[in-house]
Amino acid sequence: MELVIAISVGIVFGAGVWLILRPRTFQLITGLMLMSYAVNLFIFAMGRLWVNQPPITPVAGIDPTQFADPLPQALVLTAIVIGFATTALYLVIMIGARGLTGSDHVDGEEPRE
C-alpha cells in the first residue's frame, strides 16, 4: 500500500510540475491543483497509513500505537481549505488577465514568432 501511495503521489506531483511549466494559464492552474492534491495526499500519508483504525484515543492508559494519528487529518483539512481559497482567487485573476490582455498566456501577451 505504501508503494502504491508513494508512486501515485509522485505521478500526480510530477504531472503538476510539468503543467505549471507550460505557458497557458489554464495549464498552470490545472498544474497547481494537481500539486495541491499531491501535497494533501502526502501530508495524509505522513501520519502513517492505517486501515480501519479509529483516529482519536478515547480514554487514557491505552496503547496509542493502536490508533491512527489524528493530527495529519486536521492539517490536511486546513490545507485543503486554504488551497481551495487561493485557487479560487487565482481563477479570478486569470479571468481578469484574460479580459484585460485578450490572451491566456502567462506573460499576458502572445509570444512573438
Binding site: 505549471i20 501535497v39 487561493t86 484585460l100 502567462v106 506573460d107
Partner: protein, 545 residues
Amino acid sequence: MTAMPWLQHLIVLPVLIPLVVGAVLIPVNETRHQLKFGFNLASTALSLFVAIALLLMADNGHWPLDIGVYLAANWPAPFGIVLVVDRLAALMLLLTATIALAVLIFSMQRWSRIGVHFHSLFQFLLMGLNGAFLTNDLFNLFVFFEVMLAASYGLVLHGYNLRRIRTGMQYIAINLVASFLFLIGVALIYAASGTLNIADLTTRVAQLGAEDSYLLSVGACILALAFLTKGAMWPLGFWLPGTYAAASPPVAAMLVLMTKVGVYAVLRVWQAVFGDEAGVLSGFGLDALMIGGMATLMFGAIGMLASQDGGRMAGYGAIISSGTLLAVIGQSEEGALAAGLYYLVGSTLAMAAFMMLIELTERIRPPGAALLAVTMEAFAIEDKPEDPVGVGIPRSLAFLGLAFAGCALVISGMPPLSGFIAKFSLFHALLDARAGDGVASVAPMTWLLIALIVLTGLAAIISLMRLGVRTFWASGALAAPRLQFSEAAPIAALVVLCVVLSVQAGAVFAYLTRTADGLARSADYSERVLTEPSVRPAAGHGGAQ
C-alpha cells in the same frame, strides 16, 4: 503568576485587532472612505502601542527568562497552539506597526482610493505578519503565511492595471508553489519528529535516530525553500523586482516587510531547532545559508547597477538587504547577529521610505496620468482621486532631495547614518569573533563576505547617485511638485527614525545584543514554552488565576 493577569492577553492582540477591524470594514461601503480610514488608522495605532508595550515587557523582566507565552484556548504546549513573544518577536512587531502606520498615512489621500477593500486587505496583511512573528507552531506559521499572502495578492493587484495583473499572476503562482513546498516540509518534519511545536522540536532533535534526523533535515531544507522564496534568496528571488516595481508604492513598502518575514522565519526556526542543543544536526545548513546569502548579494548588486527606474532599483535593494541578513545568519555569531538585526531595522525603515519617495519624485517629471485610467474603467469608480487638494508643503524639492539622500545613505551603508554603523559593527564582529576563538587568521569565506558587502554598498551608492542625479539635477524644466503633508510626513518620520537609530545606536545595540543572546539560548526558549501552565478558573468566581 503576575499581578495583572490581563496583561498576558496583550500577546494575542496584534493578531486579534487587525482580524476584527479588517472584518468589520468589509461590509462598509467604499464611498465612506473617511470612516474606513479612521478605523484602519485607529487599529494600526493601537497595534503600535501594543507592540511598544510588548517590547518593554519583553525587555524589562516582566516574564521569567524574558519570554512571554500565551496558550491559545488554554491548551498547554505542545498540544495547543502557543504564541510566544521574546525580544526578537517584539522588535519585529514594532517594526511592522511603525512602517504600517507610515504607509497608511501616506496612502490616505490617493492610493487607498484607487481600488476596493484596501483597508480590509491592509488589516489582514498586518494580521498575517504579526501572527507569523508571534507563533511558535510550524503549521500555524503556514496559516499566518497564507493569511499574509492572500492579503498581499489582493494588495499587489490593488489598482488593477495591465502591469499589475501580469506581475501579479507570476507572483501568485510562485507563492502558491512555495506554499506547497512549505506544506511538504512541515509534513516531513512531523513525520520525523512527531511534533510541529518549535519549542518541542528543539528538545526532540537531539534524540532522533539516524533515519529520522535524515528525514528531518530533508524536511527542514524544503521548508527553508519556502521561507527563502519569501526572503528572495538567489535563485528564488527573481519574482521580486518586477512585483515591487509594479505594485502601488504603499503596497511595495509593505512588501519590503514581507521579505523580512522570510528571513525572520529562517532565523527563528534555525536558532531554535538547529542550535547548540541539536546534537549532530547542530548548525545544519548554515554554510548553505551563507553561500546563498553571498550569491544573493552579488545578484542584487548587479541587478541594481543594471536597473533604470526607481521601483526596480528598490526591489534589488531589498534583495541585497536579504542577502546580507542571510549571510549573517549563516555565520551564526552572536555579535554579528546583533549587528545584522540592527541592519535589518535600519534598512527596512529606509527601504519603506524609499518606496514611497520614488512615487513622489516621479511627479517631478511630466505628469503620466495613464496609470489610473485602467482602474477607473475596471471598477467604474466615478470620482477620480482628487490630485492636489489638502495642505501642500513648501519647498517640496528640497524635502525630496534631502529624504532621497537620507534613504540612499542608509541603503548603501555610507556614514553617518545607521547603514554605516550596521556594516561597521558587522565587520568588527566578524573579525573580532574569529580572533577571540584563538584562531589566528580569519576564514577566507569571512573575508569574501566582507568584500562582497563593501562592493554591494559601492554598487548601491553608484546606482542611487545616478538615479538622484537624473531626477534632481538633469530633468530639465523642473517643476516643484505639489506634495501633501500627509504624503511627506510619513517619509520624513521614517527618515528621522533612521537618524534616531544612528544617534541612539548604543541603546539599540544593547537591546539587540540581548536579543541575539536570548536567541542563542534555545533551551530556555523550549523550557519556557513547554512549562507554561494553563490557566485554571479560580474557586467561586470564574476569573483567571
